[in-house]
Subunit: 706 residues, 2 copies
């Protein structure tokens, strides 16, 4: 199918990208050897600076790692995890053994301490040198060493002579100091072991902030010892104890990752009021919200007891979470509870506040004072931005680079999340194209740009649970991680995809389930099935994607809630179809060859025949399983568009077709198939439209293909 | 591919089997409805008695389970596990909630206590009744209830209207009281979490004895507090602490499973002597054995200190392991250490023992006395059998039914393991055909037959580790479990396979990795690969099996050891190829139709084309990975036999072929491919030979196919 060539092309593009930014130019004379040398060099994120050497370091059971220089206790655990990971990755029995620094296969030297509580902007750089005789990592502190170890693991791969890491000199440092993943553990509770393996994944792609979204209308997820009714009444028993939280923070710290908690205030707060209705703007009683959306309940900013409560609560949490940053949410307050309360409206008038926005600003200022009193800098979503707030607050933008740029101009630091919402089902390429310094931010002064700290991908959890959350985060999160670490010039999406697929497989060694969960869920959907029937379900599942953005909510037959089962095909498929993307690339190449590339034509035909014939194989399952029945229409669409594609290929083989009615007819089939059904999108449809266009008069291939 | 029909056939055969033994006859008039009614009824092991009703019980989020009657604490945990499992199996959010016995969806009633320490022969029966309005399980004690819950879980499946369990009355009781799985945790150490998930698997298929093989030449795996040098020097640090062992025993008990420890004596004992050379027959020092095979070191039966040691050691272990049975091994003593020690030979003469065998009997008698003194009954492999030993010992036969029958005649109880060695790579059907009452045992008297307690599958661990052990045990172990539970007449292997594939998928919900491990290992073997290249590797992997019996050891290029990596293709593939078996069935049917079934012919052709073209797709990987290169010859063989098969199909379409030279030539290709390469067998080869035979003069289809 020519994929092997594609893959090489991806690698060579990566080298070209890498060579755009600096010392690699010196290496360009070696370019002819590079393609060979870089084989198997699938790094993600791409380092700031790579020089490829010759030869490789063999990895066998005698492998040792040793640490010299400053001995940070974090490195002991890192060494054990590194060796375990290397063993898994190679299937070799590599033991953790003491080794003299000089004699070790991999010698790691760290110069000095990192901060006891990890800080924003600490040096994370490292130099990794691999030669056929051994490897070294040198780093100012253990943070860089941790990153270097991950880079080394990505270098190791199977080779013609055993497992090996290619000779290379890597000088690496991140572009942005804040590279985060937010997980919403409130709408659906996410168990600790799932969080831990995702933190392992973050370490692998060098992310350094776990933003823990802990409260919502649908759940309050932290044990408060001062206000136990919060979790006792607001969580259905699904919350993290303080011991568990301390454990997770330690776990993250071991991996060079800060933990920033978020308690969303004053909106998004129904669950707080189940136990404490006295702090709400409206009358109780309250129950945990089960539906999705924006809801009315909000704290009462006019109630002084609210601030006393928040002072005590934030005081407790500020001790529990050691990070300097404390996120207070601040988004999506609809103001209805305030509108409905005459006392609150009276307060607005009496204090000459600018309506509800002014009231929220009043609240934010008092909140900021509390956060600051407990030694923290406040982080909030776009809405908290106001020039009257102190400059140490950080704005997290869900709206876009424009509000980030605005904040930077006003002197505030910011992080970008707009464009990085993992739940919207965008392709990795689309996320990858979003740059914190792009759009409005591109015009900032150098000083203002300094205030843009980085970004965070966001995993909102309306449609994820422990079973499928990994697949909604990975592998696309690796593309965002690269955006935030690698030089801005690294932006070739073909290279990104080639490397992402390799890294994706490696991430499963960490216990992440994003690749293998799908088969298990599809088995449940299929029920008892023959091998052929199940294969038909997989074939269909591989070419569909869930509807994008917020369409799922908008097209649900009944309003989805936190109790709605997530066991449908739409839940069991990756958010991005690799098969459809690769088919699209194949069609693009074929059309670009003026449809002369017969090899590609044959491959396209084989794929289309398989798709055309798939529906018949799936039909018995549709009769037996309501969950398969739901995708019957999409399965028929796949057969239909495949037939249309085959008709287009046939036409091309006869020099194209001049019958406009034929084109209209085939295009109508594709258009029908492009309408979502069962909340699924049939992804190969646009590529098949290209074949139809190419085949018809005026198309790029008609009359040219003979 | 007609698989869907096969599957139905499997089910109807199952019903026929079931109807052979009792009250189901009354149901035979309903036979025409049965095929429909039994859809989705994939029980394994087949119950003793099944009556299919009409309709089904809907399973939704409101599902509740309640216990009435005698309240065994074991049932509380069982209820939680049951609900968790049901949630996983359906993707529904089913909560553990209290429910009045009468109102619950599933009401479980238990009459009386089971024994505090589970005993051989306790009543394990239960009755499960499912109606559209609810379900009940009644059982004399909680063991039956545990089994009934597992049967219920197997009944639940996706249906046209949601998840459901079909209406049914099941009266069930096991055929044999001893249904075991032995895991050798000594040659390769197997971590506790792996043991736990395998015990979960045992519960799912109603096995009730975990035989824990704990000591070997290659390792001593138990913490002894009296003799800590045993584990400290004999285990490389890989052993189970006493707390861990108590935890696992409790875990097994919760699931109705006894734990029988085995300490192999007086041979298989090198690891003991690393810390305690003073008990060996030959001079020390000793080191942990790394190689596989039978080794010389053995305890010195003439040394009274040995018995003092064993008395103390077994006393300690008898307290740790509460089960009434205590396994002392006793197998494969080669006598060389005894031959080489003049003092021992002198002892044999002085005591008028019959050579080394007599010496071992002398040892066994003293050992039996010690085991008995500590309140246990001794279990040993065939070799311990001697009519002078007391009748409470149990013989485990690795040699076959003949020695089992011999033991039974002499008044000894026995369990069969010959025919159930999972490491030999036999097909599930071959294991399934072995019956403890078969062959020599068939001629026993009723009283003697009572002494045959059941059987045990054995997972010897030369070529398994934590990564691939599940795949060596499952799903084939489910077939053995059925042999030991279900009535003897249940023996249709087509039905067994149909159900085994369904159960296999369900077992993965327990955390077993037998289905998903292969893709992960193959990814490591492939290294960075395009989707097409990786698919080619999987296609090859799906039609090969490791060489059988002890061939792997015999054909290794260098002697394998406990340190040899298990990361090759031979380690990454299931022991039985489903694809090859199903292809063989298709060819059999095609030939049986006198090659007239054009639909089958088309399917066979499509499969052969895919195999023929696979090698070209795999070649790039062979260049990049030494682990793929190892299977290059097998990949070429697959292409070659597929071409031969296609030639045979072509010949058939032209009415057969009379050219004997042609037949010889094609057959030579198949014969060449049948020679193992890379320790792999190419499984579709025999079916392709059948096509060649059918196509040629004198064959069943030549001249008949037009």
């Amino acid at each position: 199918m020519g994929k092997s060539k594609d893959w090489l092309r991806g690698l060579s593009l990566m080298i070209l990208s890498a060579s755009l930014y600096g010392p690699l130019r010196a290496q360009e004379t070696q370019a002819s050897n590079m393609e060979t040398a870089m084989r198997g060099l699938n790094l993600m994120p791409v380092p700031a600076n790579v020089q490829v050497g010759s030869g490789s370091l063999k990895i066998d059971a005698g492998f040792t790692v040793a640490f010299t220089g400053h001995a940070d206790p974090r490195l002991t655990g890192a060494a054990e995890r590194f060796v375990e990971r290397l063993s898994k990755q190679t299937g070799l029995l590599i033991a953790v053994k003491p080794a003299g620094g000089a004699k070790a296969t991999l010698a790691v030297r760290v110069d000095h301490d990192s901060k006891p509580v990890q800080e924003l902007g600490e040096d994370e750089s490292y130099v990794l040198e691999v030669t056929p005789n051994g490897a070294t990592i040198t780093a100012p502190n253990d943070l860089g060493a941790l990153h270097g170890l991950q880079t080394f693991l990505q270098l190791v791969s199977v080779s013609p002579d055993g497992f090996a890491a290619p000779a290379v000199i890597i000088k690496d440092t991140p572009r942005f100091p804040w590279r985060g993943l937010m997980i919403d553990t409130a709408r659906h509770f996410i168990p600790l072991d799932v969080l831990r393996r995702n933190i392992d994944g973050m370490e692998a792609v060098k992310m350094n902030v776990f933003h823990w979204h802990l409260s919502e209308n649908q759940g309050f997820r932290v044990e408060s010892r001062k206000f136990p009714k919060l979790q006792q009444m607001g969580s259905d028993g699904l919350y993290y104890t303080q011991d568990e939280i301390r454990g997770l923070i330690a776990y993250a710290r071991e991996r060079g990752i800060r933990v920033v908690p978020e308690f969303d205030l004053p909106g998004h707060s129904t669950a707080w009021f189940v136990g404490h209705p006295e702090f709400a703007s409206g009358p109780g009683p309250f129950t945990i919200e089960r539906k999705w959306g924006i809801f009315d309940p909000a704290f009462d900013p006019t109630n002084e007891k609210v601030y006393k409560f928040l002072d005590e609560f934030i005081g407790e949490m500020a001790k529990l979470f050691p990070d300097h940053f404390f996120h207070v949410g601040g988004d999506e307050v609809n103001g209805k509870a305030w509108d409905a309360n005459p006392k609150i409206q009276e307060f607005i008038r009496a204090h000459d506040l600018k309506g509800n926005a002014g009231l929220q600003l009043y609240f934010n200022k008092k909140l900021q004072g509390i956060v600051s009193k407990h030694g923290k800098s406040m982080v909030g979503w776009d809405e908290v931005l106001d020039p009257t707030l102190p400059k140490d607050i950080v704005i997290q933008s869900w709206r876009g680079q424009a509000s980030l740029a605005e904040a930077a101009k006003q002197g505030y630091r910011g992080i970008l999340s707009n464009g990085y919402y993992l739940d919207l089902g965008w392709s990795a390429a689309r996320h990858y194209a979003v740059d914190p310094m792009g759009d409005a931010a591109a015009g900032l002064s150098a000083e203002e740009k300094q205030r843009i700290l980085g970004g965070e991908s966001c995993m909102w959890s309306e449609y994820v649970n422990a079973e499928n959350i990994d697949s909604r985060i990975w592998p696309r999160n690796a593309a965002i991680a690269e955006r935030l670490w690698s030089p801005q010039e690294v932006r070739d999406s073909a290279s990104m995809y080639a490397r992402m697929h390799v890294i994706s497989a490696q991430l499963e060694w960490l216990g992440l389930t994003h690749e293998n969960y799908s088969a298990r869920m599809l088995r449940r959907i299929a029920g008892p099935a023959s091998a052929d029937e199940f294969r038909a379900l997989r074939t269909l599942a591989e070419v569909v994607e869930p509807v994008k953005d917020y369409t799922r909510e908008q097209t649900a037959s009944e309003p989805p809630t936190s109790e709605t089962p997530l066991n449908r095909v739409v839940d069991a498929i990756p958010l991005e179809s690799r098969a459809a993307r690769e088919f699209g690339e194949m069609v693009d190449k074929y059309v670009a060859s003026s449809c002369h590339d017969g090899g590609l034509g044959t491959q396209i035909r084989a794929q289309l025949i398989l798709w055309r014939d798939n529906d018949a194989k799936l039909q018995p399952l549709e009769q037996r399983s309501f969950l398969v029945k739901e995708v019957a229409a999409t399965s028929q669409d796949l057969a239909a568009v495949a037939s249309a594609g085959l008709a287009a290929l046939d036409a091309l083989e006869h020099g194209g077709i001049t019958d406009e009615a034929w084109k209209a007819q085939q295009s109508a089939v594709v258009q029908q198939a492009e309408k979502p059904k069962g909340q699924l999108l049939l992804m190969p449809a646009p590529a098949i439209q290209k074949l139809i266009d190419a085949a018809t008069v005026g198309g790029s291939c008609a009359m040219a293909s003979q």
